[in-house]
């Protein structure tokens, strides 16, 4: 049986981290979740008209790299890669599952999510994947880190949210994923 990292420890970490990010650091972004069921995809695997849920404001830790400029026949072009780190607990509360292709609004620029890193495990344990019942109450998956790049998208079709939360994902129970609850 593990000695440290029980649920009370993890709860303490979560509470401190939430207060630190939301009330002290307070760097906020708007998260645009892609609505798969509203978007029609063509034979090339592309959707000229994309739809997103209306944005939700979330606090995060932001690691900004410098803008990089390249130049070709079209002229100088700029790119910027930013890493956003969120408390996983926040996402769970919002019923938000972040994924590649979502958009993040920061400084009035849209950043498209390139990758999702979910690898900060408190005490090296993830209770969701505990193999024995003794460890199911220890450790915790703590954060979600999204690597993004500056996107060209300038106009979005938005789908309104109900109650400030994303629709429930019921796919595991045989229903539709991201079903809207109007």
């Amino acid at each position: 049986m593990a000695l440290f990292g029980g649920s009370r420890d993890i709860s303490l970490f979560n509470t401190i981290s939430k207060e630190l990010i939301n009330d002290i650091i307070q760097t906020e972004i708007a998260y645009y979740k892609f609505t798969l069921e509203h978007t029609k995809v063509n034979v090339y695997g592309e959707a000229p008209q994309k739809n997103y849920y209306e944005p939700i404001k979330i606090a995060s830790l932001i690691d900004r790299s410098d803008q990089t400029w390249t130049s070709d026949e079209f002229g100088p072009d700029v790119n910027q890669n930013i890493t956003f780190t969120f408390l996983r607990k926040e996402f769970i509360n919002l019923n938000l599952f972040s994924d590649v292709g979502d958009l993040i609004l920061f400084r009035n620029n849209f950043y498209e999510v390139d990758g999702r890193i979910e690898n900060q495990l408190a005490f090296g344990k993830d209770p969701d994947y505990a193999l024995s019942t003794e460890t199911s109450d220890f450790g915790g998956n703590f954060s979600i880190t999204l690597s993004t790049h500056l996107s060209r998208i300038e106009k979005l079709s938005l789908v309104p949210l109900k109650g400030g939360k994303y629709p429930t994902t019921v796919k595991s129970q045989g229903g539709e994923a991201n079903k809207l609850e109007y």
Partner: protein
């Protein structure tokens, strides 16, 4: 004059040919020499005045076809004929066409309409860029740039020298024609590379189709010059790199059959006069009014006397009888036409 040249002995001026000639003529080497007076040297160039035509108030400019005209022809055709458009979020959006690798200030500041606030390029876009100019030797040329021999002549439809009036009609004036000679151009093949950059392949398809439809046709402004343009193939690229946007690009090459008539100084010095006129002629029919004083009746009388019908017959009558003024007619005035008025008066 050379005789009165104030020669500074410290800086002697070499004699020119004219001075040598004067020395020879003044030397008394033969009879009638030295010559007391002889014509001053002719300072006039060998000028054919017929070649001097004023270009004042001339609406026809010096014909000049440069590389920029070819580039503008492609830009015009893209902008005004092909008019590439794509659907962006359900809205028909015009695709900007640029010349490749413009200066930075132009690309970022002046063309900022296709960038966001960070300066990131917003697609779709098309650029084209001239890569090479190759001379065509399978077509005719002007033969010699130092002394061009082949010219193309075209006639101006209107010249102010042919202003229409009744006098010109009455005098049978042959209209004067205004010609312009343009040296045979240098025929060249210009190669352009162009790239279409879109967000989606579905947008790209429409642009490729419209450009391909215009291949092998003449591109350019109908008011200016048009050139035959050929596009043989389109190369499609679709890439998805980590940390960057999806890239959907299509490269193609435009081959333009062009021609150049430069504005260079050596061309202006060696060319023949561009403007010329046909010979101005007008035909004068000398009309004479005659009145019969005595003898047979003139005109279409009822009598069977021989009646002169025109000026020639009047002249013959006079010659055959060997007597001047056999009809005893008097020249009154110059007139118009041919008609007999009464028995004693005829007008040619």
């Amino acid at each position: 004059m050379a005789d009165n040249k104030n020669i500074n002995p410290r800086r002697p001026i070499p004699s020119d040919r004219y001075d040598k000639l004067r020395e020879n003529l003044s030397s008394g080497f033969a009879d009638n020499f030295p010559v007391e007076s002889f014509p001053p040297p002719s300072n006039r160039a060998n000028i054919i005045k017929g070649d001097i035509t004023t270009r004042k108030d001339d609406t026809v400019r010096e014909v000049y076809i440069g590389l920029e005209d070819h580039d503008k022809a492609i830009a015009y055709y893209f902008e005004n004929i092909i008019k590439p458009h794509v659907l962006v979020n359900g809205e028909l959006t015009k695709v900007p066409v640029l010349y490749g690798s413009a200066e930075r200030f132009k690309a970022v500041q002046q063309d900022g309409y296709y960038r966001d606030k960070e300066g990131k390029i917003q697609t779709p876009l098309i650029y084209f860029k001239r890569n090479s100019v190759e001379k065509r030797r399978d077509l005719g040329n002007k033969i010699d740039g130092n002394n061009p021999q082949l010219y193309y002549t075209f006639q101006e439809k209107y010249t102010k020298k042919n202003q229409y009036d009744n006098f010109s009609v009455l005098q049978n004036r042959v209209p004067q024609k205004e010609f312009h000679q343009v040296v045979i151009p240098d025929f060249v093949t210009l190669t352009y590379t162009s790239t279409i950059w879109c967000d989606f392949i579905s947008q790209m398809n429409g642009i490729i189709e419209s450009i391909n439809y215009s291949s092998d046709t003449y591109w350019g402004d109908p008011e200016k010059f048009k050139f035959n343009a050929k596009i043989d193939n389109f190369g499609n690229t679709t890439e998805l790199n980590v940390g960057d946007n999806r890239i959907v690009k299509t490269d193609f090459t435009i081959t333009l059959q062009g021609y150049l008539v430069p504005k260079s100084i050596n061309k202006l010095l060696s060319q023949k006069p561009q403007k010329s006129f046909s010979k101005s002629t007008f035909i004068v029919n000398n009309e004479v009014s005659l009145v019969k004083l005595d003898g047979p009746t003139l005109g279409r009388g009822s009598r069977t006397d021989r009646v002169p019908q025109d000026r020639g017959e009047v002249r013959e009558l006079t010659n055959s009888e060997g007597i001047t003024n056999s009809l005893n007619v008097e020249h009154l005035i110059d007139g118009i036409g041919f008609s007999a008025i009464g028995d004693d008066f005829i007008i040619f």
